[in-house]
């Protein structure tokens, strides 16, 4: 295997912030001599951090779906909608396209993130060297789609701000949307804390 040498092997490492190449140090408390940010070969506790944030996101995902996220109040009716019931409502009300978009953004994307992150973390931990390229692609995908699942939160926030006609009609955010926002933020953080270089590390170690 004539894999290209890695910085580690050459006794070097670089600062994450200012990209200064320094001599290799195993000391976990090493700092960049130029910008004084922490220096490490790989992100510190990357796997643990990702796991922790992912688990927290998964936990918040339950109340995010159980609690209603939005209350639409009009003259004659008052509707509390959870994410799923909102999707059903949209579907029934004759906008299946919108329903699909919301379903994708609010259900599919978070679920995908959970699954992909779990797969990545497990595979890294098990030192599996299989399909590293695909896993790297998956990671990029997760990073890319991460913020799109904020769609629901945006909808609620915008509607609450726009539709405010006192008695006639009103849209109010309900606690569910907070949990949902927390889920999205946590999954994004989880993806950010994951160090994609770990995917290649394992291949090398084999």
């Amino acid at each position: 295997m004539s894999a290209p040498p890695r910085a580690q092997e050459l006794g070097m490492m670089s600062c994450h912030v200012c990209r200064l190449v320094t001599a290799y140090s195993e000391d976990p408390h090493a700092h960049c001599p130029r910008c004084h940010s922490a220096l490490h070969v790989r992100k510190q506790g990357s796997i643990a951090r990702s796991w922790a944030l992912l688990l927290a996101a998964a936990m918040f995902y339950i109340p995010a779906n159980v609690f209603p996220i939005m209350r639409t109040q009009s003259l004659s009716s008052k509707d509390d909608n959870t994410i799923l019931s909102g999707i059903f409502e949209l579907w029934r009300a004759g906008s299946p396209g919108l329903a699909v978009i919301v379903f994708t953004a609010s259900i599919v994307v978070p679920m995908l993130k959970f699954i992909i992150m779990t797969v990545l973390l497990v595979s890294v931990q098990r030192s599996s060297g299989l399909v590293s390229k695909q896993r790297a692609r998956l990671y990029r995908f997760v990073e890319l789609i991460g913020y799109w699942s904020m769609l629901d939160v945006f909808v609620v926030a915008i509607l609450s701000a726009l539709v405010h006609f006192q008695i006639l009609s009103r849209v109010e955010p309900l606690p569910g949307v907070v949990y949902f926002g927390v889920v999205v933020v946590l999954t994004m953080l989880s993806a950010m804390s994951f160090d994609p270089r770990l995917i290649w590390d394992n291949r090398k170690s084999q």
């Binding site: 290799y24 960049c32 506790g45 944030l53 804390s193």
Partner: protein, 560 residues
């Protein structure tokens, strides 16, 4: 990780900057706090969800109108205490059952005696209610009971309860012959202020009347004394009786919605507040309600020998001017002996209305109960008490029965043991007028219209014959005479007309006469001048003077 160990020995150590080394303060990763916090939040949510869950109850209604699962709320005093979660039709399809999740602190509403009803907009005669539900949708109203026993199945009310539980006030029961225009929620008035409402009504068990339950709000319930009188204040009470036209209403609202009013009777009465559920009689109008109690009614009968046109059922029976009872029946009878149709009038009288008089008379007669009234009456009849149908209202011709003393009345037998006993009658005032009219008619009848007519007829015949004679004989004669006269006048006219021969003859004659007279004058003139001519006759004519070539006529003119 042998590779990394290998890398520990840097190749170009001095070329590369050495990293600084700082000691970290903490030895373990704080990141695990995040899932721990998440777990704590999740657990706390679960815990609050389970602890805040109240009892689940099922309420059945006849219709699900306005109720929606997951939307319809349950409210008590307009505070949300629960929510409808599911709704389904009963197996026999006669009603629907609604499952309600009550809130934790509303557990007291899952007890016996709690009532549930659907609040919808209702427009009744007594007003509009639940108008806010027009916009917000129907909700389920609740009213908790007293009981502590748990109950999870309820039957919902179809109409909102008139009285909420624990409201200050008291309930009373009214007995009436019919419901009239009253309804649940009809107002109860005291001095024209609404102080309560009808809560429920039901038929009496024997079906002969109606029992109404009414609720008088506190603190006004203290005005319902033990002696209070209730009357039906519904509608417009127009009565045209022997005493004239009467119009009575309580308020405009009651005209539409009906209502009940109460008041204490005038005069001495018991003023202590009536206890809960005391029973009262519902009178038809204020007059009868306020009147002193009637006591036991007695039935009397009267027999009139003349027509009683204008006597209606319910006409008053008065004793010396005191309203004493009322007529209940007017029937015809047939008397075989006299072959007439007497009128039998039945009346109900209330001796208690006579007040002290009745008490004293009762004491004197010494009777009791049923026998006392005939005894009193027999005494009174012996003193000349007679029933008489009098005209109460000349305009309408309404009659009433007056019991009055007639000192000139003939003695009649009175059987105090007859049931019902009969009070002797005397013809009324109106009958006197009738008698007088009858005598006038008699006198008129005595006038010999027949013979007058016959005589008049004969005279007219004769007149007729005379006139015929005049027509046939006298008139043609007269006609003829007139024609003669006409002719004569015509002849005379002809004779006298300007161009008639007579006229001309007369003219000629007159001319002749004139000439004659002239010649006579000439003659006399000649004689004057020549008187001898008488004797000698006329001489030869003298030669006519040359200078006077005039005619004799001219000569005459010149001469004088």
């Amino acid at each position: 990780m042998s590779d990394t160990n290998q890398g520990n020995t840097p190749v170009q150590d001095d070329d590369l900057p050495q990293p600084e080394v700082r000691k970290s303060k903490l030895g373990f990763s704080l990141i695990w706090l995040v899932p721990i916090i998440a777990a704590l939040v999740g657990i706390s949510l679960m815990v609050t969800h389970f602890t805040s869950a109240g009892p689940k109850i099922t309420v059945t209604f006849l219709t699900a109108e306005g109720i929606e699962a997951n939307k319809t709320q349950v409210k008590y005093k307009n505070v949300v205490i629960g929510k409808v979660t599911t709704m389904r039709l009963s197996k026999d399809r006669t009603h629907i059952s609604v499952v309600i999740d009550l809130e934790k602190d509303a557990a007291a509403f899952a007890t016996k005696g709690t009532r549930y009803w659907v609040v919808r907009p209702r427009i009744g005669a007594s007003g509009v209610s639940g108008i806010d539900t027009l916009l917000s949708g129907a909700f389920i109203g609740a009213d908790a009971g007293d009981s502590q026993d748990d109950q999870n199945d309820f039957t919902g009310l179809e109409t909102p309860p008139a009285v909420t539980h624990g409201a200050p006030g008291r309930r009373f029961v009214l007995h009436a012959s019919d419901l009239g225009s009253l309804d649940i929620g009809s107002p109860v008035y005291y001095r024209r202020i609404q102080v309560g409402r009808i809560v429920s009504y039901e038929l009496d068990k024997d079906g002969k009347g109606v029992s109404l339950q009414l609720f008088v709000d506190g603190p006004n319930d203290r005005f319902v004394s033990k002696d209070a009188r209730f009357w039906n204040a519904s509608g417009v009470d127009v009565s045209l009786g022997a005493d004239g036209l009467k119009l009575n209403t309580q308020s405009l609202a009651t005209v539409i919605a009906g209502g009940v009013a109460f008041q204490d009777p005038p005069g001495p009465h018991e003023e202590t507040a009536a206890p809960e559920m005391q029973e009262f009689t519902l009178f038809n109008d204020q007059g009868t309600a306020i009147a002193p109690p009637d006591g036991k009614p007695r039935y009397i009968r009267m027999r009139f020998e003349h027509s009683l046109r204008g006597l209606a059922v319910d006409a008053p029976v008065e004793f010396l001017g005191v309203k004493f009872g009322r007529v209940v029946s007017v029937n015809l009878d047939y008397d075989e002996k006299t072959q007439t149709f007497p009128v039998i009038v039945g009346a109900v009288v209330y001796p208690d209305r006579l007040g002290q008089a009745h008490d004293k008379l009762a004491k004197l007669s010494g009777g009791d109960g049923d026998s006392e009234m005939p005894k009193i009456m027999s005494g009174l009849v012996a003193h000349g008490l007679r029933a008489q149908a009098r005209n109460g209202n000349l305009l309408t011709g309404q009659l009433y029965i007056a019991l009055d003393f007639d000192p000139k009345a003939k003695k009649v037998e009175f059987n105090p043991n007859a049931r019902p006993f009969e009070i002797p009658t005397t013809p009324g005032d109106f009958d006197h007028i009738q008698e007088q009219v009858a005598s006038i008619v008699d006198k008129i009848e005595k006038i010999p219209f027949d013979s007058i007519g016959k005589n008049l007829d004969g005279s007219l015949h004769e007149l007729n014959a005379t006139l015929k004679q005049v027509n046939t004989e006298l008139l043609p004669e007269a006609k003829r005479t007139l024609q003669g006269v006409n002719k004569t006048v015509g002849t005379a006219n002809d004779a006298l007309s300007e161009d008639s021969p007579l006229q001309q003859n007369i003219g000629n004659t007159l001319e002749e006469l004139q000439r004659t007279i002239r010649s006579v004058r000439a003659f006399t003139d000649y004689l004057g001048r020549h008187p001898e001519a008488l004797l000698r006759g006329r001489g030869a004519d003298a030669a006519p003077p040359v200078s006077t070539p005039a005619t004799p006529k001219q000569g005459k003119d010149v001469q004088p």
